[in-house]
């Protein structure tokens, strides 16, 4: 506890994510302990990469942090709100307003233009309809796609599609940008372009949590966390291991 408080104070930034003993066990038979009890603190403005082999628990961690799954033990706080056990209506509101999702397969609706895809992220926020189009256009300009706002996803390249998805994730100015293999479907040139865009967003103050297989993408992050068999390990500046075998990870 003390260590984390000190760490948070040291970065002098408010905490965006705080996992305390958060674990996820999928009911069997046999029960799968996808994520062992983990502690993780991410401060505002940090750029964190999570790497690990398939089946290591990366997706489980992402689903917990993204409030898509609930932890079976421990707590999760986002912006200081304990959301691990909150009712679904509140978790949905946190997803809508505080978390921006970027997926490996983009998840753009095929029959809607880039602009309409970005605007979809505002539908469940309760934001007034009036300013949405302008906000979506601003978000598209932010990712360098202002000129292609009227294009359908089928008319866009892979990199452009992921830019639209990033614009959609940014439009509500979330506390956290959660990227799940953002370059998994892209060639190396486009990968560099997208990771450059993410780095730019980080420099502009966005908090980034990137799950990736790609070492080049992971290297761009300030902090690199490895996950293996459900255990988290911080590559840089490891602290004392927790008695139960999980490592406390913090800045």
């Amino acid at each position: 506890m003390t260590a984390r408080t000190e760490a948070a104070a040291a970065t002098e930034a408010p905490v965006v994510i705080r996992l305390a003993g958060a674990a996820c066990t999928y009911p069997g038979p046999p029960p799968v302990r996808a994520l062992k009890p983990a502690d993780l603190v991410i401060g505002r403005g940090e750029h964190v990469a999570i790497t690990g082999p398939s089946g290591s628990g990366k997706s489980t961690l992402l689903n917990l942090v993204g409030l898509i799954d609930r932890p079976t033990a421990g707590t999760i706080e986002i912006d200081g709100l304990d959301v691990g056990g909150s009712p679904e209506r509140r978790r949905a509101a946190v997803r809508a307003l505080r978390i921006g999702f970027v997926f490996q397969s983009f998840h753009l609706l095929p029959h809607r233009t880039a602009l309409e895809n970005v605007m979809l992220a505002q539908v469940y926020t309760g934001i007034a309809r009036g300013g949405r189009r302008a906000a979506a256009l601003t978000a598209l300009e932010q990712v360098g796609l202002g000129e292609r706002s009227g294009s359908l996803p089928s008319a866009l390249s892979g990199g452009e599609r992921q830019r639209v998805a990033i614009a959609r994730a940014l439009i509500n100015r979330p506390s956290l940008l959660l990227c799940d293999e953002p370059t998994g479907n892209l060639d190396s040139a486009t990968t560099a372009e997208i990771s450059g865009l993410l780095e730019g967003l980080h420099r502009a103050g966005t908090t980034l949590l990137v799950i990736t297989h790609n070492p080049a993408v992971a290297r761009r992050a300030q902090r690199r966390i490895t996950i293996r068999d459900g255990y988290l390990t911080e590559a840089r500046g490891p602290q004392a291991a927790a008695p139960d075998g999980a490592r406390r990870v913090h800045g």
Binding site: G66, D69, R90, F103, H111, A121, T125
Partner: protein, 410 residues
């Protein structure tokens, strides 16, 4: 700018306008599929509107064809005589004149079937061979013939003179005339009824209201009374009244009192509605069959919407996952799919109702009929379509709300 967002107790929302936009986008993006999905509802609702509209229109036409006769006819029966064991006549001698004075009556007259033995009518004198014909002999006043709408082929009808003086004259229906060998009235031919000679003065081509006159022989009422006496209780006297259009019910109420002020219950007056009631029953059972078919089309349409919506839910799992990640709650997902299926049903209902009305109009114009269509039906049809869509969407919406976002986003 972040602090403004730090509301502790917020919950995600879906505005009605946004819900409508999202649902409509879901339908418009797959126009071909939406149209095919609507087809069952279109056919069902259109069938309903067309069948009900056509049957209403057809009933209207049948009504105008038959009501001319039905609505202008009153039959007065001698109910006391029918109950008696002896021959009786409860109509007064001046019954025709009394009934004729009632407002709304065009013509009114008494008639009855004369009870005669078989073979009573013959063109030859009594005793000649072969024996006579078994023709229906009717006693009628001249007014009864006028009221029943008797149409002559040749000669004349008997008149007040023949009636008052109980002349032995007869009018013969055309088929009976042929059987009796009467071809021309120029020779003033005679026939024998129960041995009595009668001069044939007219041949009848037909009668609108009294079909029994079409086959037999008609003699003046007074003559029948003089020769054969009072009508038998098996075939008591009746009065047929031809009224002006719409006056029949009123006349029926007044005529027993006008004829028998002292004992109006001896006579029973009735307007003839039985024929049209039967017709309506037949039409109703036919309509029920067609409506059942349209109902089956509606159920098939509902299953179609349910099936397509369910397929859409399975197809759009990743969209559902995305929406959940963007802050949609399960209830928002359900609402979207329910709205889509309801909109499908509503559109199907609107198109179906329009096609149904057009069908009714086309048939009506082709038959030179007057279209009759209850406006309530046309307005209710789209609402029925919407309800069908809503019901069809219930199960798919439930399935959609149960989609696990973690699985759907994988």
């Amino acid at each position: 700018m972040f602090t403004a967002r730090r509301r502790a107790g917020g919950s995600s929302r879906l505005r009605p306008r946004d819900l409508a936009d999202e649902a409509l986008a879901g339908l418009v993006q797959r126009p071909g599929r939406s149209v095919l999905t609507m087809l069952g509802t279109v056919l069902g609702i259109g069938g309903f509107v067309a069948i009900v509209g056509l049957s209403q229109t057809a009933n209207g036409q049948i009504g105008t064809a038959f009501s001319r006769l039905d609505a202008t006819e009153v039959i007065v029966t001698d109910s006391a005589a029918a109950a008696a064991k002896t021959p009786a006549l409860d109509f007064p001698a001046d019954a025709d004149a009394r009934a004729g004075r009632i407002n709304g009556v065009v013509a009114a007259g008494v008639w009855w079937t004369v009870p005669l033995k078989h073979g009573a009518v013959s063109a030859r004198p009594p005793g000649a061979h072969p024996a006579g014909l078994s023709l229906n002999v009717t006693a009628a006043t001249p007014e009864a013939l006028a009221a029943s709408g008797a149409v002559l082929r040749s000669g004349v009808l008997f008149n007040r003179f023949h009636q008052d003086h109980a002349q032995n004259v007869a009018v013969v229906a055309a088929p009976a005339a042929a059987q009796l060998g009467l071809t021309s009235l120029a020779e003033q031919p005679a026939i024998f009824i129960g041995g009595q000679p009668f001069t044939v003065i007219g041949i009848l081509s037909g009668d609108q209201r009294l079909p029994q006159l079409n086959l037999g022989v008609i003699v003046p009422e007074k003559t029948a009374l003089r020769v054969w006496g009072l009508p038998h209780h098996d075939s008591p006297a009746q009065m047929i009244i031809h009224t002006r259009l719409g006056a029949a019910p009123v006349v029926a109420g007044q005529v027993p009192v006008a004829l028998r002020p002292g004992d109006p219950l001896a006579l029973t007056a009735a307007t003839s509605a039985n024929g049209s009631e039967l017709g309506q029953e037949v039409a109703a059972s036919l309509n029920n069959l067609l409506l059942a078919l349209a109902g089956i089309a509606l159920i098939v349409g509902m299953i179609g919407i349910a099936n397509t919506t369910l397929v859409a839910v399975l197809e759009r799992k990743s969209e559902i996952g995305l929406r959940r990640a963007l802050g949609a709650r399960p209830v928002h997902i359900s609402a979207q799919f329910l709205t889509e299926s309801t909109a499908l049903g509503l559109s199907g209902g609107l198109i179906g109702a329009s096609l149904g009305v057009v069908t009714v109009l086309v048939v009506t114009v082709l038959h030179h009929w007057t279209a009759v269509l209850a406006p309530g039906l046309v307005l209710a049809a789209p609402a029925a379509g919407a309800i069908i869509g809503l019901i069809a969407g219930l199960y798919p919406a439930l399935r959609a709300s149960g989609v696990e976002p973690a699985e759907a986003l994988r």
